[in-house]
Amino acid sequence: MTTIEVSNLSFGYSQKMVIEDINLKIDQPGLYCILGPNGVGKSTLIKCLNKINKPSTGTVSIDGQDLKGMSSKEISKYIGYVPVGGNDMFSMPVIDAILIGRYTQQKWKTTAEDISIVNRTMRLLGISSLALHGYNELSAGQHQKVAIARGLVQEAPILLLDEPTANLDVRYQVYIAELLKGLTRKTGMTVVMISHDLNITAKYADQIIMMAPPGRIHKVGTPEEVITKETINEIYGVNCEVLTDSEGKPHVILGSALWIDE
């Protein structure tokens, strides 16, 4: 089990801080979901966890090692990353686009092992039939699946995903959430993902990190502890009812918005 510890983390651009005084410890395998309104610093936080953003103050450490002293190549062996959306410039076949995720393991030549894991991952995500299609011929949802596949073939013990279900249809939103949860159970991986879907998060997350303006952690806990009528009302500004589903998980019935940002 690889642990992540965040201490007094702040990050900002120029004088403006985006996230401030974040403290967080992830020392159990599981699915961790970051929730919060737009612009609250969810993506900024996740990018601090693998040093894409270098903290303004505070530290992030993996297994006790401060990221400050680690190269991005070393970090990539511990942490995989799936950014929101796909932005590949020039098209290459899907199989090549996913093989890029093997960069840290791969030598110059693509090996049978590389092809094998890419094949298995394409099958896992239901995109085998797209293997030799050009990346630019795919839909936004298919790009998202390729991005997730690229993160999985990296075979790192921690996987960070920025809104992995954003462009997916309902079936795949549920399937990906189940898949990520299943990965944590079967492989002991730690998965940290950003989401805007309260019900999917409530159903599948082991722990929820609820962020609130101005870039702070409001609450960390189980779905039952975090997904409450009061929290959603206060953080999101939305009227709602929170029911309990057949598995005892919270289920949010949304009402009307209470305010919008000035």
Binding site: Y13, K47, N50, K51, I52, S71, S72, K73, E74, I75, S76, K77, I79, G80, Y81, P83, N87, D88, M89, F90, S91, M92, P93, I95, D96, A97, I100, G101, Y103, T104, Q106, W108, I115, S116, I117, N119, R120, T121, R123, L124, S128, A131, L132, G134, N136, E137, R150, Q154, L160, V174, Y175, E178, L179, G182, L183, K186, T187
Partner: protein, 369 residues
């Protein structure tokens, strides 16, 4: 356990069985075929270049046949020169042009491919990044005002000025919020600025200087001599090898700077290194051959359409296609209305323009994002 849970369980168990899953034969066969196609394309370019070199070496007042050219080259290499006159004609008079074609074709095409990948812009090439306009300003200063940096006249001036836009782009790339788009826009700004200065200088120049400048601007493989080739060889060869060694990192960078960083590639650093290397290649070539357009912009796109965007193959294939295209264009330019010579840049545009247009219309959604 619900139905959907069992589906995930089943697929996950399959995913984790590393050695027990049967390989997907169809995908693997088609993928091998796809890789094979890349090698065939590169081999075809080499064959075309080989034939064109032989044909080019036959052109001139001294009659030497196609077969003889290769015999003379072989005899020269093994030190068994049979006919010193023919050897002199081939090696002293005709070979510098061929060598310039090989170096310029490979170097400019690789520079274009690399600039397009690093700046994530399909229009990036030595022209749009300001390298060529810098070289032109340097050459203009040497021809019209007689100003020479380093004492080698046009060549040294063109080289030094060609590097100025790149230095500026590299400086911008080190800024925290710099994006590839910002860098290429800076290159375009410099291109216009240098273009304006060059135009002003031309207004004050006499007709003879204008003629010299025009000859340099249209570019020709015939401008290079052995002295120039000796300078070009190490820079272009080392430069192309460096870019080839960085080609896997270029692939990673193509997925976005943040994704690259997450995979252990420092995109900003890599962009600076590659820009300096390709600018050195392009500046060296432009300094000795003048402005040969089209190759750097279009060759990489044609190659991408045929073999895809994987830089591990794109870089060498662009080099080979660039050599074949440039030498073929030069051969056509020298023979089509002989003894009048049409400049190589004109022919590459005449040949490549319609071909490129046809390819982009046929493949419009497949290659560019």
């Amino acid at each position: 356990m619900s139905e959907s849970e069992s589906l995930v369980e089943r697929y996950l168990s399959e995913w984790m069985k590393k050695d027990e899953i049967e390989p997907d034969i169809v995908i693997e066969q088609r993928y091998r075929h796809y890789i094979w196609r890349k090698w065939v394309f590169m081999f075809a370019c080499i064959v075309v270049a080989f034939i064109v070199i032989g044909l080019s070496l036959t052109i001139g007042t001294y009659p030497i046949s196609f077969q003889e050219t290769y015999q003379i080259i072989w005899d020269h290499i093994v030190g068994n020169i049979q006919d010193p006159a023919k050897d002199e004609v081939i090696f002293d008079l005709r070979m510098p042009r061929i060598m310039a074609g090989i170096l310029a074709g490979a170097g400019l095409a690789v520079a274009g491919a690399c600039m397009q990948s690093t700046l994530k812009n399909p229009l990036a090439d030595p022209f749009t990044t300001g390298v060529s306009s810098g070289a032109t300003l340097g050459a203009t200063l040497a021809i019209i005002l007689g100003i020479s940096i380093g004492g080698a006249g046009i060549v040294s001036n063109a080289f030094v000025f060609a590097l100025i836009p790149t230095a500026m782009m590299v400086a911008i790339s080190r800024m925290k919020s710099a994006s590839p788009t910002m860098m290429i826009m800076a290159g375009i700004a410099i291109m216009y600025l240098f273009g304006a200065i060059t135009t002003m200088l031309k207004m004050w120049s006499d007709p003879d200087d204008l003629k010299s400048l025009y000859m340099w601007e249209v570019g020709s493989l015939g401008l290079a001599d052995w002295e120039g080739i000796i300078v070009m060889v190490p820079i272009v060869i080392v430069g192309v090898i460096v870019i080839q060694l960085l080609s896997r990192q270029l692939n990673v960078m193509a997925t976005g700077d943040e994704n690259a960083m997450a995979l252990g590639v420092d995109a900003s650093k890599l962009r600076s290194i590659t820009l300096v290397v390709v600018a050195l290649i392009a500046a060296t070539i432009v300094s000795f051959t003048g402005m040969i357009g089209f190759v750097g912009l279009v060759c990489p796109h044609v190659v991408r359409i045929v073999i895809g965007a994987d830089n591990r193959y794109l870089i060498p294939a662009s080099a080979m296609f660039g050599i074949a295209l440039l030498l073929a264009a030069d051969l056509i330019g020298r023979t089509i209305i002989a003894p009048t010579v049409i400049q190589v840049g004109v022919i590459t545009s005449f040949l490549g323009g319609p071909m490129f247009l046809w390819l982009i219309l046929r493949n419009k959604s497949k290659v560019w994002g």
